[in-house]
Symmetry: D2
Subunit: 89 residues, 4 copies
Amino acid sequence: MDESAKISAAKRLAIIRGHLNKVIDMVSDDAYCPDVIHQSQAIQAALKNVDEIILHGHLHHCVLKDIHEKGSKKEKLINEILDVFSKQT
Amino acid sequence: MDESAKISAAKRLAIIRGHLNKVIDMVSDDAYCPDVIHQSQAIQAALKNVDEIILHGHLHHCVLKDIHEKGSKKEKLINEILDVFSKQT
Amino acid sequence: MDESAKISAAKRLAIIRGHLNKVIDMVSDDAYCPDVIHQSQAIQAALKNVDEIILHGHLHHCVLKDIHEKGSKKEKLINEILDVFSKQT
Amino acid sequence: MDESAKISAAKRLAIIRGHLNKVIDMVSDDAYCPDVIHQSQAIQAALKNVDEIILHGHLHHCVLKDIHEKGSKKEKLINEILDVFSKQT
């Protein structure tokens, strides 16, 4: 992973962990159900955002480099991208 | 929240926290990007599952009770359900 | 379905059919792939919007009425709402 | 678009148009709301499937070719893939 994507992803994941801890507390404190679900949906959106950052770094650094250097890995690289796309909720 | 939904949601959220910690480690250990994204997508799917458990409890316990007892809250309850639906990614 | 939801949904679905026909033409005319996918994603978002309109009408008219009048149907109504939520992409 | 992706996408889009027409009829015939929503959600899933077919062809044919031949287009190609990913519902 390139360094700027790594730093940005790590920072966001730390914030997401804080939000997840908050959701865990909300459930244990009997918070109002729709409020809990909204927090959970916000975490999902934030994780999707991290995925985009990581994918951006991946396409720029790993994919471009490997597509040039190692022809045999192309199919694998492309299938990985498609797989990421198809599992996107 | 009803007790069984609460226990089930809490248990799953604890597991999700473990997975999130694993993703954080993967980023810090320079794991392969598509692998990180897959773990993140699995967490998103698991959180969506928790949302369904909470919504199930909410519809059965809060909504059914409040729709009967307090006519004025109906609109709010329904808008909350729609809101949860529309924010679903 | 209540009349205003029905009219609004029908109008939007007619527009969506027009967009779908455009996507079909784009594929047959060898349009640029990302452009085709964007149009398809716009249709998916528009259909999700129709779902919300229909669900809104359903919650207001069918669910509220039936939850009051027919106790035995409650479970079915709630499971249908959960099902709609869980199939949401 | 490569020919096999084009044929497969066109065939699926024609089927989707049939399903969309059915949804339009369901609304006009006052079909039960959750049934209409399920059909709409099935169409959305089918369109997502078409997107994957088109993206597969795009990555294999356009992207691989253009990444090799035209260095200046790389950024554009990658941003298009990320854009498709981020708009995925």
